[in-house]
């Protein structure tokens, strides 16, 4: 059965692009437009993988990511970050938040800077779902 992948991005273009890429490669994508909806859909849809943006309105990817990783039912789902934020900035923000909250959140399985290349993203997906 096709593996379900949750795509979370506020940009319509990005959702369509990633969904099409996944669909045409035998996966079953479903999407959310912000972190809040993303977390709710992750609980409901139980995806094998989450591909998400960091900077989104309503609830940011940073909050959603921590939500995923601190939920015992969801923490094992691999996450690929796709963001316009540089990798360095993102990892720095994670470290600061870890220190602040006194918890250690694991790093995402992959981090891809926007705009994502089809092959790069697909490779990351394949590695995560191996």
């Amino acid at each position: 059965m096709a593996k379900k992948i949750l795509v979370v991005d506020d940009e319509l273009d990005m959702r369509i692009f990633i969904s099409t890429l996944l669909e045409t490669n035998g996966y079953k994508p479903f999407s959310a437009v912000n972190g809040k909806e993303g977390l709710a859909l992750a609980r409901k849809g139980r995806p094998s993988l989450v591909i998400m943006d960091v900077m989104m309105p309503r609830e940011s990817g940073i909050t959603m990511y921590r939500g995923l990783k601190t939920d015992p039912d969801l923490r094992d789902i691999p996450v690929i970050m796709v963001s316009a934020l540089s990798k360095k900035t993102f990892f720095h923000s994670q470290k600061v938040l870890d220190d602040y909250k006194g918890e250690k959140i694991p790093e995402p399985a992959a981090y891809i800077e926007k705009p994502p290349e089809a092959e790069e993203l697909l490779n990351a997906v394949r590695i995560c779902l191996k």
């Binding site: 990005m14 099409t20 900077m55």
Partner: protein
């Protein structure tokens, strides 16, 4: 001290004094020129313009005080030391009032003379230093400003280029994605992909077009294309255009227009652009992470204001701005919208309102919301 400053004009009618004092001063390193009376002294002074004059207060012919006043009048920077007799205290004090730097009394004591000379030299030195500073300050300010302007211009160019690169990179992402989806549609003969890919391409081509237009609008100095129209027309158009966008982000968009506004002269296309920018910003402010606890609301109003053709008011209850942000909003390429913002919107809005000789005002409170007001003047 400069060579010129080592010159002293010594004026005394007593030859003995001229000789003794002359030797003493020459020993201290001064170049001494002597005169026996005021008239001679004045004639010499006009040629040599020495910084220090040492003169007896009592002279035959022109009195020492008179000489002092003439020198101070022609050359206020020259310091004059008076040589007085024991009974000349009144005259000595008077000479100070006329600008003498000091006076020494006969019989002359070398230490007292040196102190008086030192005082004169210090006065000259301070005055010259202050003058140097003042003159150089102008030069310094000029040079620093020039340098600063160059740096700022370079920084502005770098900022512009970087903002453009960012905006273009973003759109390129959309175009590449659109092409990918379209190709899949063609490859798999899938109608959904074809439609979606085609829409993406169109959307991003439109974004490139808007970006180019925005840049042109900003760089080009041009008079508005004035037309007589209903001031409610552009705000209605913007409302219709933005309603789906607001709904998508569950922001309530409201419109309240004064339908009795008379037609006015303005450039409808450009005013539309201004209002569109403000409404887009207002909706974006309501979808900010910090506002997810309340229902976002944006209201558009048109109203009559005394001395103006129309007042537009765009009010939101979104994230608002702190003072620091508010101070920067009309600046070049300043954006709070991360990858989505080019920082052109408000800059252009401001420019268009300026070109209409209108007024744009912004009031905002962090966490409460923002209100923008545009007033357009009456034109005949």
């Amino acid at each position: 001290m400069k060579t010129k400053n080592r010159q002293i004009l010594l004026v005394d009618d007593e030859e003995g004094i001229r000789k003794v004092l002359g030797i003493s001063l020459a020993d201290s390193g001064y170049h001494v020129v002597t005169a026996a009376n005021g008239e001679k002294a004045l004639a010499l002074f006009k040629n040599m313009d020495s910084p220090i004059v040492l003169t007896a207060i009592k002279l035959p012919g022109m009195a020492g005080i008179q000489l002092l006043r003439k020198i101070k009048k022609d050359s206020p920077d020259t310091e004059v030391i008076m040589i007085t007799g024991r009974g000349d205290m009144e005259l000595a004090i008077q000479s100070l009032k006329f600008g003498a730097v000091d006076f020494i009394t006969k019989p002359l004591n070398d230490d007292v003379l040196q102190i008086a000379l030192k005082r004169a030299k210090e006065k000259i030195f301070y005055r010259e230093t202050v003058r140097d500073y003042t003159e150089n300050l102008e030069q310094l300010v000029y040079e620093k400003t020039k340098k600063l302007l160059q740096t700022e211009r370079l920084a502005a160019v770098a900022q512009t280029v970087s903002a453009m690169a960012h905006a273009i990179k973003n759109i390129t992402g959309g175009l590449t994605g659109g092409a990918f989806v379209l190709e899949k549609g063609l490859e798999l003969e899938n109608k959904k992909y074809l439609d979606q890919g085609w829409d993406m391409l169109k959307r991003n081509v439109e974004r490139v077009k808007q970006l180019a237009l925005d840049l042109l609008n900003y760089t080009k100095e041009r008079e508005p294309d004035y037309q007589l129209c209903d001031p409610n027309q552009p705000i209605q158009e913007v409302y219709q255009l933005m309603l789906p966008y607001a709904t998508e982000y569950s922001v309530a968009l409201e419109v309240d227009l004064d339908t009795k506004l008379p037609d006015a002269w303005f450039d409808p296309e450009r005013i539309n652009r201004c209002l569109l920018n403000l409404v887009t910003n207002a909706i974006d402010a309501c979808t900010d992470i910090s506002c997810n606890h309340r229902q976002g609301k944006v209201s558009l109003r048109s109203l009559r204001r005394k001395n103006f053709a129309v007042e537009y008011e765009i009010c939101d209850n979104g994230c608002g701005m702190d003072e620091e942000t508010k101070a920067k909003i009309f600046q070049q390429f300043f954006s709070t919208k991360g990858s989505q913002g080019t920082g052109l919107g408000l800059m252009i809005t401001h420019k268009i309102v300026d070109e209409h000789r209108g007024v744009i005002e912004c009031s905002s409170e962090l966490g409460k919301g923002t209100t923008f007001v545009i007033r357009l003047p009456v034109r005949e």
